[in-house]
Symmetry: C2
Subunit: 196 residues, 2 copies
């Protein structure tokens, strides 16, 4: 509404990125319009281009931001030995399945990212590499390449399982997919958990 110091604009931009993240995860990239994304931050469509070059620029920024947030969340309790198992159980919970807006960006957007622009795929790749690096250090501290491979595989299984649970219209079947998925991913993480 008015002219503030430069950190005010940065704060507004961050607010757009955060609320856009929720909306994009809820309604998809193609399913979200610029006007709606701005309304989510309490602004009108015109102000959008004072913050971003294009919708694609915002999407790439959101993807990077979401992955970074996920990385920070995982890092936060890195010293807790039961943290990974709790993370898997929370990831494959009915709460997460039923609330994509505040959930994992990969589960909500991976398919659209795969069809996305080079900038979006680049942002996704970089964010995922950082996430995988962190996870690898915990899954196989003494063997980074093996840890990275295992981390990527766990991510793929988590994402596929949650997406399948979201798509199935049969509640019992969906719940069963989640429960079975927990066992599978914990087994995939393997000795890294039991060895501690």
């Amino acid at each position: 509404v008015a002219r503030y110091g430069k950190e005010q604009k940065a704060a507004t931009r961050q607010r757009i990125v955060a609320t856009a993240g929720e909306k994009l995860k809820r309604d998809g990239i193609d399913g979200s319009g610029v006007a709606g994304l701005m309304a989510g931050a309490g602004l009108t469509n015109g102000a959008f281009y004072a913050h971003f070059d294009s919708k694609d620029d915002l999407v790439a920024t959101v993807v990077a931001d979401q992955l970074e947030a996920q990385r920070r969340a995982l890092q936060h309790d890195a010293d807790d030995s039961g943290a990974l198992e709790r993370f898997v159980r929370a990831y494959l919970s009915t709460d997460h399945r039923d609330d994509p807006a505040s959930g994992c960006p990969s589960a909500a957007l991976l398919e659209e990212i795969g069809r996305g622009s080079a900038a979006v795929r680049r942002a996704y790749t970089d964010g995922t590499l950082a996430l995988v690096e962190d996870l690898a250090a915990r899954l196989a501290p003494q063997d980074p390449p093996a840890g990275r491979a295992r981390a990527l595989q766990c991510m793929a299984t988590l994402v596929g399982t949650l997406q399948l649970a979201r798509a199935l219209d049969e509640p019992a079947m969906s719940d069963a997919v989640l429960e079975h998925g927990v066992q599978t991913v914990l087994a995939q993480m393997g000795s890294a958990l039991t060895a501690r």
Copy 2:
């Protein structure tokens, strides 16, 4: 262009469903318009509503058709003992990764189906149940519930792995995800393969 026997109309409808399947898998549901889908079948937009009630009706029909096609492909070589392993290797191949249009509908559309209408999710659930039933009989013939659980889990892992490989912008990383995925899924299928 003209009036034909009733089987002519059914053939045209099937042609629309088949070509729309390819386009939907390539560009996504929200990314495909009715006019473009009809053009893919060599028709104009106006004829669409002589065949379907709405775009959503077509999407649900396509989802059912695609899953049925996949089921038939899997059933075709059911008596071949190496078929499952070959299927997994083909699924997680660079060819499949690089050609979504002629590939698995789950990998290409699962996320959008999860956000889709009740009709689309219903069609997906029914088609997947049929597919899972067939697969379960081959993974654990003597224990149907365990077979179904394992079949669903394998599907989830396959889909997640292929989607991740498609989203990653780093070719070496993407290839590695596919290779590691093959080993993981074969292990998940487990004793069903080695026991034969």
